[in-house]
Symmetry: D2
């Protein structure tokens, strides 16, 4: 299914008066700010959609009734991301996962994606599951494994993923390792680290010069005693030892309870080692809920550090970090969930862009804590949704993506096209 430009225009026209009123209101409220610059940054900001987030997810207790109309092939996944991008103008990239999405014809895929205005974001390898027909199991780890042959298999898989990525025009590899242990004594932590580092070195060596390697950390799950890339400190150790192409990737759900993620973000930027983000939200662990659905203020605070740190380093907001959603959609239509995630991220970004940094710096320099809080809360409490909508309008996307999605009965059309019982690859 395709969304036609005239369908979007019709939708926008109906909302335009109301939208203009909001924009006018904001322009008066923020007359001291260059809102055009803010809107342009919102237009430029793109969040990659992972190919595995397009189907209904599950938990270790199983997967409930699926949504229907799920994509059956890479091509249909690209089609789905194309739908999202048509609706919100901010999902202009897809992140593939090998072996769930092995491209048969890279050229054709690139053309298909380009037709939707999509690029190929970071490639994702998978050594957290056993692959059918593989010689070795990752039950006791992949890059950390005590068995050199198993490490070798995992290394070669990653190198193969890089090759696929090169063919598709991607320029980054995300390495998320489930490696770790479930019981005290199972692992020698030091040797596990050293094996992992050695393995990463081999993969790093296969990386093109202009590529990045994202070393993702996670505190726990699926291993429940230790994880071999367990926190930002460990990831930074690996990335530092590997070299300048290696970076830390932050997934919001991969921390111990109560962690101050925004501080981690700030320090990684300081070190020049923040590579990118996996957005989602959570209350208990790696719950993989819709971004902004549980702790929207935290999301804003993270963006506040991102904007501050990226600007301090003279980096480009849209290009110098990798932005991706990584969530699981157990009880919502995956496409609606992704639209909600992107919306929440864009709002948080807009809020962060409007923070009065000069005043904030002054308050910090005076230890005026109440004032500093007022400054942050002022933008957070402001209703900036119209700015995000305006960015969409300028990108020829929909003023209200989720409403248009429902107006156009997109899901029902996908079911009609693909059937009810299709199941997308993923978790």
């Amino acid at each position: 299914m395709n969304i036609e430009q005239n369908q979007i225009e019709k939708h926008n026209d109906a909302l335009l008066t109301s939208h203009q009123r909001k924009i006018s209101f904001l322009k008066e409220e923020w007359s001291h700010i260059d809102l055009e610059n803010v809107i342009q940054k919102l237009v430029d900001f793109q969040i990659a959609i992972p190919s595995w987030a397009l189907g209904t997810g599950g938990t270790r207790f199983g997967r409930f009734a699926i949504t229907g109309g799920e994509p059956r092939t890479i091509e249909e996944k690209i089609e789905d991301v194309g739908l999202l991008h048509a609706l919100n103008g901010a999902s202009g990239a897809i992140s593939l996962h090998i072996p769930w999405d092995i491209p048969q014809n890279a050229g054709a895929l690139k053309s298909l994606a380009a037709g939707y205005g999509l690029k190929f974001d970071a490639m994702n390898s998978n050594t957290f599951q056993d692959q059918a027909g593989a010689a070795h199991s990752y039950k006791f780890g992949s890059l950390q494994n005590v068995n050199k042959a198993i490490r070798k298999q995992a290394i070669e898989h990653n190198i193969e993923v890089i090759k696929h990525g090169i063919a598709l025009g991607s320029d980054a590899l995300t390495v998320w390792l489930a490696d770790g242990s479930c019981f005290p004594g199972q692992l020698n932590f030091r040797k596990a680290f050293e094996n992992t580092l050695e393995s990463l070195h081999e993969i790093y060596a296969a990386l093109p010069e202009d590529w990045k390697m994202f070393v993702e950390y996670k505190a726990f799950e699926p291993n429940f005693y230790s994880t071999t890339v367990g926190d930002w400190g460990q990831s930074l150790l690996y990335a530092s030892k590997l070299g300048k192409k290696a970076y830390t990737l932050v997934d919001l759900g991969h921390h111990l309870p109560n962690a101050n993620i925004e501080q981690i973000v700030s320090l990684l930027l300081m070190e020049g080692k923040l590579g990118g983000f996996h957005f989602n939200d959570s209350k208990y662990g790696d719950d993989d809920l819709t971004a902004g659905s549980i702790k929207p203020y935290q999301l804003f605070l993270i963006f506040n550090e991102l904007v501050e740190g990226v600007d301090a380093k003279g980096m480009n907001h849209a290009k110098d970090l990798g932005w991706m959603i990584d969530a699981s959609h157990n009880v919502k239509d995956p496409l609606e969930d992704l639209l909600q995630s992107v919306e929440a991220i864009m709002i948080a970004y807009a809020q962060a862009l409007l923070v009065d940094r000069k005043a904030l710096n002054a308050a910090q320099d005076n230890n005026d804590v109440a004032k500093a809080q007022e400054i942050l809360q002022n933008t957070f409490r402001s209703d900036l949704r119209a700015l995000v909508a305006e960015a969409r309008l300028r990108a020829n996307a929909a003023l209200s993506p989720i409403n248009l999605y429902r107006e156009l009965s997109v899901r029902q059309n996908l079911v009609k096209d693909r059937g009810l019982g299709t199941v997308a690859t993923g978790l």
Copy 2:
């Protein structure tokens, strides 16, 4: 120091045009809603200020340089709350703590308070500290103590607090017990519960018919292994066994990590046993930070359940539950901090009042999870500060309390009146 009505009016006049613009905008945005009704509820809503929150707080590592101008007597504490109430029109009650605030002349205090438009909210006893000259120490607990004489001392203290409260026109007693244990084996949990229940029964018997007893729970601190009223389940057990005057009191900082407080609120309302609230915010434990400074969405979700549950029970928002701030102000001017807390609470309440309950019920009945989220986020993302300001305007209070507080140099005046080195009683 007093804030004169003409000072407030002058402040308001300068902001009125801008305020009216915002109100007009909101009236158009929410034209389908009876905003007058919402504003009236905001006018009626009053949050009690605890007498111990008027001075600079500390931690177990000590107290840093104080703010200056802290109240030295109950009378000055009432004066401070009077200042807050003049500024925000929503702090029309003070909650006293015995023995930090033993009233010498109840009649005179009532008059003084009435002059500021203040009532006396719930009285607070203190058996979590040793009192100078007391026969017994609470080192090993008060109402739980294995020593009957110590329990007796604690019971009598509570009864004395009730008497003070009667004289002041209060109608509730808040019992927060630090009782518990620091090490496995220290306590027989069952006997501690039974001793505590027996002690509470004696206090309950001394309670006037129209009074309420609030049984506050807390997961940990200052005891670090067990607490004898440790969670809402335990508090509800006590309250149920005590009788219809006994209720559970929820302090937002008194839970284990990641607890779903809004669900607890809903269930306590269902059982008719929610008594009231202590507002604050926290990231790690009982951090006692400014309400809404860390998790404003959680604060909104709690109010969402409060409004839903109170309406379902046909209760009165402003009168049938006890609302109080309980925070510690270590790095901010306490009065500014309290103004920020009240503001955050009022905003959350306003957001909850605007939730489209009919649509939410329909979404819930259809398991339309994405829609339910849209409905809640729609009010949370709206900027309703002008509604709260309008309520203040109608209560003859300031459009921007914290700004007026600074414009009038309230703190500097208090320092001038009271001196720099005064230290208010409290933590």
Copy 3:
């Protein structure tokens, strides 16, 4: 495969001298204690094995290479538990799960189980997964569902489980509900509670007079925002409203971080509402690790409260509470893991039996905290494994079950009998 009595005797003979030396040592060390009584209690104590714990488990990321030789039928599951019971003499019951273990011929199964010395423990229903061919999905809950027809389906399933249990001679139903919500707004907490209570009433009505209903609670997972039986307070509310046959069931992994589980145990015993236990261990959430593998001191402290509370109530240790393991075996041979769990539980029980209660009571009455700690740590630090081994010896089981399991190549034999690729039903 069967383990012959002479194989056990041969194994025991080889270890007997060493064992006797340890027992002699303990008899001298604990000469002031009636060790025979302790040993008899250890002999009598039986821990049920859940049918789903006999196969290799997995996580939401999938299941790694299986162990091989997993049971393919209920009969083979009973055979497996029979092997465990032959080895340790303490696994004399099996807990079945419907629909994973629908019995075709209850009489034959009872005979088969009796041949191994096994009883049928609590029956487990399953409304946390969709069943093939079922009319309705539990995606949005079962007993809590807003749709009455779905609640009805779940109620009927539970009643059917009771019927299977009656035929097998079981006398308890464990209801674990995954019901809850993933996002704010998804659920009306009060209505979810009321629907669940109403549903439980219907199931309760179908319960034979001498049966118990265990209402299990869990803080989170698979729902990641709220759970409708979320903590012991909620479970106790249900159990109290249901009636005297309803009890709370405690699973060690179902709490928020840092919860004091032993206090919960004590209070539930006080209320006469503790029904039973699901043993496992965890570091982060419901990790379902081997009992005693992470926090053995906590396991001891729980047993300390169990022994104290059960004795205070005049209850029977072995009969008046339900004891079951509930763990997932992702990286160990499931049978070895279960042997380790039972061993850890028996040791904790032995430690609790040896606590000098008179001295502990005296220390508590004197607030002698250091002494109380010494008393608990004295038994915990003692090496009581020989007492547990002696209980096995008297039950004609093996002195060292896990060693005999390996000596007899049990797993290899099971693989030979059943094949490498068999997969047991379960998670």
Copy 4:
């Protein structure tokens, strides 16, 4: 008060037969191990006592009735540690804290300490409290402060502490910073890090060549939003940037919930950057409870990594790392509490020394997880208290320190000497 050698001998004589029986039993059980070597390591192992742990502690809610007989001067603190060392032979060092313990006459103090067999361990600075008469307050941080003059004051304080330490023969400085923030926006994380690093560089420059600097981290408290040395990753960053004299110090209570501390220990050893330990135990936060009183298995697992890592690096167990207790004694006699902490630490160390590393390595190389667990649990479940007692016997200390402490009425004698109302400096 002094404990005479003949008092110890008399005590030991009465217990000797029983002790010998236990030792004989252990020698048979562990006949394959060189127990003499283990005992010698236990003899050599010394744990420093911090001067502030000799008095009754408190919480932010105040301090309850004190124990009586608390040391009033540094000399009396040294006397107290001397008593502990006489009793357990394992507390041969004292760690001083400036300004609580400013030495007036370093030479005399050294002689006094030497008389008790005590050395001066790491010196502790204090910039987490305001000092009477200081020009500046640390309310908004010390080494991180935006105000250079305040940073300077804090730097100079640290340099003064080094000077005191040189005079006393210490060779390490522990820097624990409470620096951080309570509210979002209060701090620029990057600038706070850079200011802190710059300040640490100045202190580092004043460090003698053979000294170490321990950079201690803490997740939260007394700041409740961010801490500027918040986790091991941050501490390692500082230590790496500072140079080879700088190390990370691990305090067991300074982590987020559920952190795997033993893995952190292993990785810091791998990096050559583990400096030392602050021992205590906790259930919720920095509870500062007696070592081993809550999670003794975790304490063992930490020692397991220490022994493994220290041996792998060819380091000396007793000399190459700093060992110190850091606890607060709110409800126990501080000296009894310290005896219990040292005992728990020595037991954990003994257990770690007895781990069969060869077998463990083999199990790890075979991914034999069940076996690895058996190996660790085998030593943990063994009763090794007699080995620790034997080490004491050889050091002319008491077989049962806490019992002798009570037999000799040490506390009563201290009260007689010093009075009931004395309060030691500290928290």
